[in-house]
Symmetry: C2
Subunit: 277 residues, 2 copies
């Protein structure tokens, strides 16, 4: 299979957390100046400003808002916390609507104090509870399976098969999945499950970055595409073969790069996007 | 399902690496004095002494040698290194035979410089190459699937399904799998795959420890059973339902506990073995 390199940035999106030291204004200005076309906004980037103003600011820079990160974190042994999580997710839906973000990425959550099966059940219940709000707001939700190393406390959904199963069970045009190469690259079933997303028309987002060897921090040691061992372009080929035509979202958590000059870092990302994605 | 707690240590084994600060003599003496019945020997514990002498030393303490850790690390982009790995694995087989260890655990390896599929192919080739030597030596080999967070450089075999598939494809009474709760607890297919091991009579080893939240080091931050979120006893129930009657091997890599008083640590492990395994 031959997947062509990108020759332009028309389908490139960057997450605000990727350049975490920048506030929303700085991120929008720099992304726009660099020719990046899409932005995914993390909730923390919205603080201190009316959402309508953030929306205007971003669109004035000619950027398309790809998604809002993140909803989820439904499970808890504590029923009060589960209720609070659902209320918070309804707030995220309102924020997405106000921002004009068509999609919310769900980091589903997990509670180490209870069995994974219980957390999975609570995730399904949480999604079912907020889905009508998402439909009413015209916002989509994407279940993002997280790497199994996050199964204890961040997500009990750890393979694309699980995410697909859950999306198909709840079933709604407003519910799909997000494929992040960092979380899923190791899975021998990945190509087949991406193809299944295509059949079910539930592939809503595609996130890219790379895996460092060695990985010195379980959370914040992600690499730029091409620096690690993930076959990003090959996986993009599967995603495109499944009919995906959306943005390629660069989502990198990196203590190392957050300490670097963010403009130079963004240029490095753009180069890697063209050469290794 | 109700799985009974252990009332004695007759099926308890400890890996020498669990109490890494102790040399082989110290480990054997302390394990024996504490009532532990089995020992799994890591190769580094064999240095500086004739293997026959290590064997005598261990058996004089009344300990049963459960397995030798570890063979494997077959894949490499470099053919010379692949050849060297096979030669080294033949040496491990000789060592196991000399030691009287009936089993070698295989940490299969992975090379981030090549696709996972290539690494998997090289693992199958490596095992096929050394299997006749293992048969001739009367030693068994266990494919140990490693957590997906080690897919880049430690093992391209990351689920029990993959290990079972490979064992079934190569097929020999001397080839089976090792189930380690740390690597596999998150997998929704685990119970079914353990049951499949039973049908295929290929479940050769069972390793236990626990998962810390948060995990601060990707390699050496494992917990004692009961300290984390892994349902160790539940998984032991599946393993026993699959017909496994071997040792329950405590294998903990922990920078934290390696710095502690090893005798107190061993007592803590024994208590956890009874209460939480």
């Amino acid at each position: 299979m031959s997947v062509k390199p990108f020759t332009d940035l028309s389908k490139m999106c960057v997450h605000t957390i990727t350049t975490k030291p920048w506030n929303l204004v700085e991120a929008a200005r720099h992304f726009s100046a660099a020719g990046v076309k899409g932005i995914t906004v993390w909730r923390d980037a919205l603080t201190g400003r009316e959402i309508a103003e953030s929306r205007r600011l971003i669109t004035d820079y000619g950027l398309e808002i790809v998604s809002l990160c993140r909803g989820g974190f439904f499970p808890s042994v504590d029923a009060t916390k589960r209720k609070a999580a659902i209320a918070d997710n309804r707030k995220v839906i309102e924020e997405a609507q106000a921002l004009g973000a068509p999609l919310i990425v769900l980091v589903c959550g997990s509670d180490p104090a209870q069995p994974l099966e219980t957390s999975r059940q609570q995730i399904a219940e949480g999604i079912a509870a907020i889905l009508p709000d998402a439909v009413a707001a015209g916002v989509k939700l994407a279940i993002e399976p997280l790497h199994p190393m996050y199964a204890d406390s961040r997500s009990a959904i750890n393979t694309l098969a699980q995410a697909n199963d859950m999306a198909m069970e709840i079933r709604s045009p407003n519910l799909g999945v997000a494929v992040d190469v960092y979380h899923l690259w190791w899975d021998p079933a990945l190509e087949g499950e991406i193809s299944r997303c295509g059949e079910n028309e539930c592939l809503f987002a595609f996130h890219i970055c790379d895996w460092n060897t060695p990985t010195v921090d379980i959370l914040n040691d992600r690499a730029i595409m091409g620096e690690g061992c993930i076959p990003v372009r090959k996986i993009r080929g599967w995603v495109e073969a499944a009919g995906f035509r959306g943005f390629n979202e660069v989502e990198i958590f990196s203590t190392k790069y957050w300490q670097a000059d963010q403009s130079q870092y963004l240029q490095k990302i753009i180069q890697a996007y063209k050469e290794n994605s």
